[in-house]
Amino acid sequence: MRPVRGPVPPGPPLPEPAPRVLAAHATPGREDGDAPAILTGNVATRNSAGFALLLALLVLLALGTLGTGLLFVSTLETRVSRALVHATRARAAAESAARAALTGWDAPAHRRLAPGTAVDVAVAPDALDPDVHAHARVVRLAGGLFLIRAEAEIRPPAGAGAHAAVGLLTRALHPAEFGPDFSAAVSAAGPVVLLPGAVVDGAGSAEPAATPDCPPDPLLGVPSGPRAGIAIADAPLLRVEPSAALHGAPPLEIAAHLADSAAFSGLGPLGMADVTRLADRLVAEGLDLTAGPGGDGCDVGSAGAGSLDGAVGPAGAPCSGDAQLIFSPGRLTVSGAGRGVLVVDGDLELAPGAAFAGAILATGRLTLAPGASVTGAVRAREASIAGAIRFDACALARAFAEAPGLNRPLRPAGRSWVPTF
């Protein structure tokens, strides 16, 4: 029988009308298959069947699955991108830490390291972002090489971080690399003229014997003991005037290699271009050493003026901190008193009264006026000497060890950056 829509036909009264409640099963006298009662306007059929709910659920499930997948992909992408950013930042931080270690290079301390040993280097905490932790370590390698091993770690507040390490090879100069070029009081290709009153002394020293803070020979890398007065390419190229004094062990040494023009092309392992770049002070034509740093009251012959560790002498000590690498690209005239390493790409003249302690290299002619003096050693293509040159290993070692320009870390000729894993 089809369900009837419309007014309910008369029948037995309902015991308890319940509005909005389906009560078909409670209708007395209803036969199977009869139309269900329709109560208070709501319709319910016993055979109600549909798929709308199921379909909606399935669609929701499918959309939910896709949405979740998209969300996962997006989240994954974000994480991967963040990890890549962290990795890049860590790598940059490690390289920065290595450069920071280079900037704060402590040549005397690093020079004391034995090959294979290492020392930690502090990286300024505010040099990098707060979530970056970096440190560096300097490893002394064989020869003059050092390896700065820098590591950086990114520690974000949440999520995975990153770690990176890198190595920076650095070359540091040692006084021993310059020592062989200054093995005599005067080394010259020639001619060399000792004018009346001149003194060249390779055996003696203005200073007393090496003090505990001045062990010159190991630092200079040459045998200890007296040195030659003059080393020259050939004996006839030397002329000694009467009343000039030449002392040394031996007084005259023939060094044929000094005839080679390359013998004056640089300072130890450094070419002139390197010296130009490294020089603490560039001068031209005239130089008054007294007017420079440390010129005030610097007794160039004073023992203890500075230390061989490479650090400058104690505050207030004579000559503390005044040793410099001075370079002149052409002719130069020097007056006053000072110390350090003086390199002149041309002729050099020391005026009367000028006093210099350390090493002098002149690619041209050296003229030492009467009353001028050098304590240390001189290397020049030619020389005309009327003053005094006294070999002093201690003064040489101090000059090479203390001149800031020679204490800078250098880029090696080969590779600089290496992975450290």
Binding site: A62, P115, L169, R277, R411, R415
Partner: protein, 251 residues
Amino acid sequence: MKGFSLVELLLTVTLTGLVAGALFGLLRGQERLARTQADGVAAAEALRLAAFVLAGELRLLQPDEDIALIASESAAVRVLRGLALVCGANGAGILVRYRGVRTPEPAKDSVLLLRADSAARPLPLVSASPAPAACAAEPGEHVELWTLGAGAFPPAGSAALLFENGTYALTGGALRYRRGEGGRQPLTVEWLDDGASGFQALDPAGDPTADPARAAAVVVRATAEVPGSERRYSARLFLALLNGAAHRGRP
């Protein structure tokens, strides 16, 4: 009689069809979006992986020593795998403190011995074996006994880099790596466009150069194509070679 009238049936079928069509379209659009997103991520990941690998391998090379060739489709290089510090020697060889991405394998590895000027001398690695406690090692290092070719006995404190010869190529739709004469193994999905991907070395002035010794940087171009789609993802990676010609000669 139970049943539906024809009109009801037609109406029901029509409405059902419309609803089903709409739902199918919606689902299909969503599925396409999801797939596109996933493919885009995969393509981007391929580019990112290529950039990450190449940056890690190329930036620290010494061009005139480590790069044999940079052609448009490939770069033949020494791939550095570890660093060793010589800490001693015995009659059989040298003792080293080694740290690397893997253990040394004499069959495929060689050694770059760094001289005092940091120029490298390539030597064959004849043998390598663990020698724990022969030297004091730092965390992350382990001590090994190495025998180098040419009877080399570098002094304590010398540094050596372990390397293998390899070729990175952007061919066959992927970034590939080949060690020695081996096959080219893909490192990424094979979605790269060969014609739009490749290497280019630049000299210090920024001009293209075919001479690795003059290389100051390497530019890597890579374009990934999503299969069945018009979408393309491109990346251009500028890798400054930290040991390149532009940085030399400075104190």
